[in-house]
Amino acid sequence: MSGLQLLWFILIAVLFSGFFFLEGFDFGVGMAVQSLTHNENEKDQIVATIGPVWDGNEVWLITAGGALFASYPFWYATLFSGYYLILFTILAGLIIRGVSFEFRKNVPAKRKQFWNWTLSIGSLIVPFFFGVMFISMIQGMPIDANGNMSATFGDYINLFSIVGGVAMVLLSYLHGLNYIALKTTGPIRDRAKNYAKFLYGILYIGLVAFAVLMYFETDFFRLHFATTLTLLVLMVVLTVIANVAVMKDAEITTFVASGSTFVALVALIFTGMFPRVMISSISSKYDLLITNSSSSPYTLKIMSYTAIMFLPLVLAYIAWTYYIFRRRVKHAPVLETK
C-alpha cells in the first residue's frame, strides 16, 4: 500500500465526514420543518438558517463521489452499481428536497405546504438510506470475482442496516435541532432544545443496539478490536457531552459534539473496513482492497496536488460564509391581520 493510496482512503473518509457534519444539520432542519414548527413563520425562520449554506454543504457529497471515482474507480464502480436502487432513492430524496428551497419560496401560499413536505421527506430519506447503505456494506455484500455485486433484498435491508438507517436519521435530526438552537431566537429555539433533551435518551438505546449488532454482524471487533471499541466509546462520550451541554444551554458545545459524532461514525466504518474498501460475503478473496482498487500513482499524485492547493482556499471561503451569516435568524411573530 502506497502513502498516496492511504492518503486518499483517509480523504474519502474526511469528505464523507464533512458531508455528514454539515449536511447532517441541513437534513435535521429539513425534517424539523414539518415536525418542530407551529406556524409558517417558524418554518421560514428555520429554513432561513440553512438557506445560504445547504447547497454548499451538499457539494461535499458531490466532491466525495468525484474523489471516489477519481482515486478508487473500482470501489466507486462496485459500490454505485451494487447499491443501484438505494442510491437512486437517495438521489430522488436529494432532488425533491433540493428544489423545494426555491419552490416553497415562490409558489402560491396554498401550495407551499406541498413543498414543505417534500423538503421534510427528502431530508428524511437521504440520511436513512445512507445509513442503510454504509451499514449493509460493512456486513459484507455478495461481490464476485469481477467485483460485481448482485445482492438481494435481505442483503440491503436487515436488522442492523435498519438500525443504522434509523441512527443516521436520529443523529441528523438531533444535529439539526442543535443547529436550530444555535441559530435562532424565539420559541423555536427552546422547543428545539426540549426535543433534543428527550431524543438523546432514545439515542443511547440506539447506540447500544448499534454496538451489539456491530459485534455480531461484522468482523470489526475481530480485526480491529482497539480502534472499533475506542471509536464506539467516543461516539457514546460525544453523545453524553452533547446531552449534558444541551441541558446546560451550551449551544455551541452541543452542536460541535453532535457533529463530531458523525465524524466518529465515519471513522469507525473506515477503520473497521481497513485495508478493504468493500467486503465480499462470497469469499474474502473477492474483497476490494485499498491496494487493488485505486487509481494509478500518477493520477493520485495529480489529485493530491490539486487537493493541497485548493482545499485550504475552499475551506477558507466556506468558513468566511459561516462568519458572514453568524447572526441568529430572528423569530417573526404571526401577524393578526394575516
Binding site: G51, P52, V53, D55, G56, E58, V59, L61, I62, T63, G65, G66, A67, L68, F69, A70, S71, P73, F74, Y76, A77, L79, F80, S81, G82, Y84, L85, L87, F88, L91, A92, L94, I95, G98, V99, E102, F103, N106, V107, N146, N148, T185, S295, S296, Y298, T299, I302, M303, T306, A307, L311, V314, Y317, I318, T321, I324, F325, K330, H331, P333
Partner: protein, 472 residues
Amino acid sequence: MSIVALGRFQFAMTTIYHYFFVPFSIGTGLVVAIMETMYVVTKKDEYLKMTKFWGNIFLLSFAVGVVTGIIQEFQFGMNWSAYSRFVGDIFGAPLAVEALLAFFMESTFLGLWIFTWKMVSPKLHVTFMWIVTLASSLSALWILAANSFMQHPTGYTIKNGHAVMTSFSALLKNPQLWYEFGHVIAAAVVTGGIIITGLSAFQLLKKKVGNPDFYKKSMHIGLLVALFGSIAVLTAGDLQMKALVKEQPMKFAATEGLYKNSGDPAAWTLVAWANENGHKRVWGVEVPYVLSILAYDEPSGSVKGMNAINKQLVKEYGNRNYYPPVNVLFWSFRIMAGFGTLMLLISLLGLFFTRKKNQLLYRQKWMLWILGLCTFAPFLANTTGWLVTELGRYPWTVYGLFTIKQSISPNVSVASLLISNTVYFLLFTGIGITMISLVVRELKKGPDYEEKLDEEEKRAAKIDPFDKEAFE
C-alpha cells in the same frame, strides 16, 4: 428491453433534461451579473430591479440544474460501472476537480449573493455574482475535459485492460476541449440573452404591461448579449467542424448524410432523408461547393462518405457496425445550425429595429411574437447539438477504445432500470411543470413586486416595536 438500451435512454433523458438548465443558468447568470454591474456603476434603480427580477428566474433554473446535476455524477457508477472501471483513472479526476474547484465556489457564493443584499456593499455583492458566473464556466471546463477525452482520447496508455493517465496536461491541452468549451460557453451566453429577450417580448405583448421601459431595456441588453454570443458560437462551431473532418470522419459524414464519397468540389446537402438499413440516401437537395468550403475553407476538396469510412474502421477496430443513426444526426445538426444562425439574425435585426431613431419593433406585434417564440430556440439548438456530439460517437463511449455495449453495469437489472427511468421521468415532468409555472408567475408579478414586498416588510416591522430579540 436490454439493459444497454435502458441505460442509454436514462443517460439521454437525464443529461438532456439537466442540460436545459445548465446554459439557462450560466447565460442568465451572466446577464444578471451585467445588469447588477450597471446598477453599481450608474446607481440607477431600474438596473437593481432588473437584477432582482431576472435574478429570480435565474435562481429557479439554477435550483433545477443543481438537483439534476447530481444524477450525472452518480449514474456513471450506477449504470456504467464497466465504463467507470475502464476509464476511472482518467475520467474521475476532472469530475473531482470540478467539484472542488467549481461547485464549492458556485454554491457558496450563490448563497452569499442571495442572502446578503442588505448586508454588504453593492460592489462586493456584484462580485459574488461574477464569482458564481466564473465558477459555472469553470465547471463547464472540467466536465468538458472529461467529455473531450471520450471524443478524442489523449495522454493515456492501456494497462491491464484499463485506460491509465500518463499526462494530466494532455487532458487539458486536448484541442477537442477548447472547441467544445468555446462552443458551450458561447451557446450559454446566447441562451441567456435570448431567454431574457424572448420573455421581455412576451411581456410587451401583454395588453396591460406595468412598466414597458423595464422590458425594453432588458430586451436591449438581452439582444446585445445574444448577438455577441451568436458570433462566438458560429466561430467555435466552424472550427469544431473542421477538426471533426479529421478526428471523427464518421460523425461528420453522418451529419452530412453522405454515404458515398463526395465529388470534388463537394456539394452540401440542404435537406435529405436516408434509408439507414440500406446505407443510402433516399432523396436530398444539394448546393454545390459549400461542403468543401465548410470542411476545408476552400472551394475544392472531397469529403469521404460513410461507406468508405465504415470499411476503414472495420479494418482498424474489428468487425462491427460503425454507422451512427444518420437521420437523427443529419437533422439534429440542421436544427442546431439553423436555429444558431436564426438567433444571430434575430439579434442583429432586433437591435436594428429598436435603435433610437426608429423603434419599429415595439409597434409591430408580429415582430414581438417572433422574438417571444425565439425563447425556445436555444433549448432546441443546445439539445440537438449534444445529440450530434454524443450519438455521433457511436458505437464508442471512448472513441476507438471502448464501446457502449462494453460499458454497461452487468449487475444492474432491467427492473431496476425501468423503475429508475419511470420515477425520473415523473419527477422531471413534475419539476418541469412547476418550474415553468413559477417563471410565468414571476412574469405576472412583474418587476415592481419586490419593492412592494420590501415596503410590506417594513410595515410589518413597525407593528412589533417591542420585539426584545431585536436588541439581542
